[in-house]
């Protein structure tokens, strides 16, 4: 069978939802963060697919930007997580709830 745009979109959407689920369900900050990245990649996939089928490159350019920004974000994020780990000797998010109500 011939692969259409919708297939790509479907895969991307699935990735997105998986990432979302990960963010909501996993307890380990690192993994949550990975899931976030996965969601971003899903978006990237969508972009690429669209620009491929629309036939111009803006989307792909955008993807590079996204990847770059994501990298920066990861750097900051991991730094934070490390700092947190120093303080609590764990990266679990359970009872990370001193601020509430």
């Amino acid at each position: 069978m011939e692969i259409t745009l919708n297939h790509y979109l479907a895969v991307a959407a699935t990735l997105f939802v998986i990432g979302l689920m990960g963010v909501m369900m996993r307890r380990n900050l690192i993994i949550i963060y990975m899931s976030l990245e996965m969601m971003l990649q899903a978006a990237n996939l969508t972009l690429v697919a669209f620009s491929r089928f629309n036939g111009h490159l803006d989307g792909q350019v955008f993807v590079f930007f996204v990847i770059t920004v994501a990298a920066a974000e990861v750097a900051v994020g991991l730094a934070l997580i490390v700092a947190l780990f120093r303080l609590r000797q764990t990266t679990q998010v359970d009872n990370l709830t001193t601020l509430k109500f």
Partner: protein, 663 residues
């Protein structure tokens, strides 16, 4: 210049009262100021009576333009000196002056006497104001003023709960009645576009509205009236409510009468007057016997042409007056407090006067008002002298045997009593019989009730005299009383002379004399306008019939007195026990239980609703609900990262679902 003199009629007592109120004088200085102002009033009144002093130029008190839907409002403060006001003015200032003098002796020991005389001055100010008022609002102004002074003086001994209560009762009763009075005034204004009571305006108003109606106690529709008189009658509006003129006129008359009902303590509102006896006796004499309570009658006579416009109104007035007369007389039979007996007799005499007005005899009413002012003031002052002599003893069963010990007081009291019961040739005889004759001409029923009242009057007054003065002393105090000083007895003597003479004066001549004086005033009410209005009986002119005029009433009085004399001579206790009368027909109890308590219950209920439903449930409820929501909302803020992520996602999903897929 001389046109300003008249103002001092009002200014002198006002100045006196204000300065006394500001405590500018020592007590005796206050007495001097007050008595001085009273005598000045009397002099001015004399000047006015002899025409030396003319009415001053009025000043405009309120003047507002009208519009297409309401007449303009023109209220001026001025003075009107006609026969009516001249006569009344003399009575008020004359009796007032005498009472002032009497009080000098009577209140000599009281620490608060300055306050007392201040109150008297306020009263003189307001009462003279009522007499000379040129319009109803001005009259209302002073009307409330006398109410105020009476309130202050009844509550003079304010540490006595009963006195304070009586004062409140008097004021509230009057307020309730003035409620009607104000409505009457408003209706008069709507109908005639003026509130003036100058005779000329009144007769104009009369001629605008007079339609010869048959004397039936009913309201006719415009059609019926047109059928009856052949003249179409104008339909008037108040506040956009269409009302046929007769109904409006009746409302007006009843409203105005309402004022009289309060001041003159007619039947449903009579309850305050006996309680008013809590005040010092001179006050009872001046305010609650001679003048203020008569103000209602005076007002009726003043607006008499308006009363004529509603036959139903007139008959209603006559009925109320007649009923009050007999009703009060009955109660008086079983009272034991000397002042209360006199108070109830005042009520029944006022009933006579009001009945007279209702029967179309304002002249008779004024005549009786005058004589009554003299002898009732006399009676009260004499009673005061008795009480003074017995050290505040008021129960007639604790008196007795006073005729020898305080002869002057006894004799003056006796004269007054004879005048009151209408024993010829004392003044009361003439005035009362004049009223009875009018009543007879109007409708026999009123006449017979009047006669019965005369009988009762003779009965209870004789009872009073016999029990209180004759026989032997029945209490320590009564054994050696002391005669009052001259300053108190001289007014008694003067009043006694007046009570005796005022009726006889000019009895034989047809133009001089008090009776004719008032009669001329009455028949001249319309003389300035032609033609003299409808079918003659706007003033009842009784036909002379000796049987009715003299015989029957005299017989009634004679037998009443005789009966009571033999019944009560040398008694130590009351042989009659009529609980219903002793308890005043339970009217007070009725009011207390039904009206006052009912209103209070309603107030309590509303208060509860306001506190718990409106304020509590709705307002604070609303506030608490908002706060509660706040508490609920913050629960979503669990602090757990993933709850937040979930809320975030859920929000997004819901938005997308409802916008894209929900339809």
């Amino acid at each position: 210049m001389d046109q300003y003199i008249a103002w001092f009629l009002l200014l002198a007592p006002l100045a006196a009262s204000v300065t006394i109120l500001l405590r500018l004088y020592s007590p005796n200085g206050a007495i001097f100021a007050s008595v001085g102002s009273a005598s000045l009033c009397f002099l001015i009144a004399l000047g006015i009576a002899w025409g030396g002093i003319v009415a001053p130029t009025p000043w405009m008190w309120i003047s507002l333009p009208g519009s297409n839907e309401s007449p303009g409002l023109e209220i001026e403060i001025g003075m009107i000196f006609d026969a009516l006001s001249k006569g009344m003015l003399l009575i008020v200032t004359g009796v007032g002056l005498l009472v002032h003098i009497f009080s000098i002796g009577y209140m000599a020991q009281d620490p608060g006497r300055a306050r007392f005389f201040g109150g008297l001055s306020i009263f003189m100010f307001s009462m003279t104001g009522i007499v000379v008022s040129t319009n109803l609002i001005e009259m209302f102004f002073f009307w409330e003023g006398v109410g105020l002074s009476s309130y202050l003086l009844i509550g003079f001994w304010f540490t006595k709960e009963s006195a304070a209560a009586a004062a409140n009762k008097a004021f509230v009763c009057n307020r309730l009645a003035d409620f009607g009075f104000m409505i009457g005034i408003l209706t008069y204004w709507i109908l005639m576009g003026t509130v003036s009571v100058k005779p000329i305006d009144l007769s104009n108003s009369y001629h605008q509205n007079a339609v010869s109606l048959p004397r039936v106690v009913s309201i006719l529709t415009p059609e019926e009236i047109a059928a009856h008189t052949g003249t179409a009658i104008s339909v008037r509006h108040i506040g956009g409510v269409n009302l046929t003129s007769p109904l409006l006129l009746t409302i007006m008359v009843l409203g105005l009468f309402g004022g009289c009902v309060g001041k003159s303590a007619m039947f449903p509102f009579h309850v305050w007057l006996p309680d008013a006896m809590e005040g010092p006796t001179p006050v009872s004499a001046l305010i609650h016997a001679a003048t203020m309570v008569a103000a209602g009658v005076y007002m009726l006579c003043r607006v008499y042409p308006l009363l004529l416009l509603s036959t139903f109104g007139l008959e209603f007035i006559a009925c109320i007056g007649c009923f009050t007369a007999i009703f009060a007389a009955l109660i008086a039979v079983q009272q034991n407090d000397i002042k209360r007996i006199l108070a109830y007799s005042t009520l029944s005499q006022l009933g006579y006067m009001v009945m007279a007005v209702g029967c179309g005899g304002p002249d008779a009413a004024m005549f009786h008002l005058t004589t009554h002012a003299f002898f009732k003031a006399l009676l009260f002052l004499a009673a005061g002298s008795v009480i003074h002599a017995l050290h505040e003893e008021q129960d007639i069963w604790k008196m007795g045997g006073l005729d020898k010990k305080i002869p002057l007081t006894y004799w003056t009291f006796l004269l007054g009593m004879l005048a009151l019961i209408g024993c010829p040739p004392f003044s009361g005889f003439f005035s009362k019989d004049y009223i009875l004759a009018d009543a007879h001409a109007f409708h026999p029923a009123f006449y017979w009730v009047g006669v019965a009242t005369a009988f009762l009057t003779a009965f209870y007054m004789t009872r009073l005299v016999v029990v209180a003065f004759l026989g032997s002393a029945r209490s320590k105090a009564a054994e050696h009383p002391h005669e009052s000083p001259l300053v108190m007895t001289i007014p008694l003597i003067i009043l006694a002379v007046l009570s005796v003479g005022s009726g006889l004066w000019g009895f034989w001549s047809s133009d001089s004399g008090m009776k004719n004086f008032y009669h001329n005033w009455a028949i001249n009410l319309f003389s300035d306008t032609d033609p003299i209005p409808n079918n003659g009986h706007f003033i009842t002119v009784p036909e002379i019939n000796t049987g009715i005029e003299l015989g029957i009433p005299f017989a009634a009085v004679f037998f009443g007195a005789l009966l009571s004399y033999y019944l009560y001579l040398d008694r130590t206790t009351d042989p009659l026990h009529i609980r219903l009368l002793a308890r005043k027909f339970y009217v007070d109890e009725l009011y207390q239980r039904r009206l006052v308590r009912g209103q209070q219950l309603l107030a309590g209920l509303l208060n509860w609703i306001d506190a718990w439903i409106l304020d509590g449930l709705i307002l604070r409820g609303g506030a608490y609900i908002s706060v509660g929501f706040g508490e609920v909302f913050r629960l979503f803020q669990t602090g757990s990262l993933q709850t937040y992520a979930f809320i975030f996602t859920l929000g997004g999903v819901l938005l997308i679902y409802f916008t894209l897929f929900a339809h």
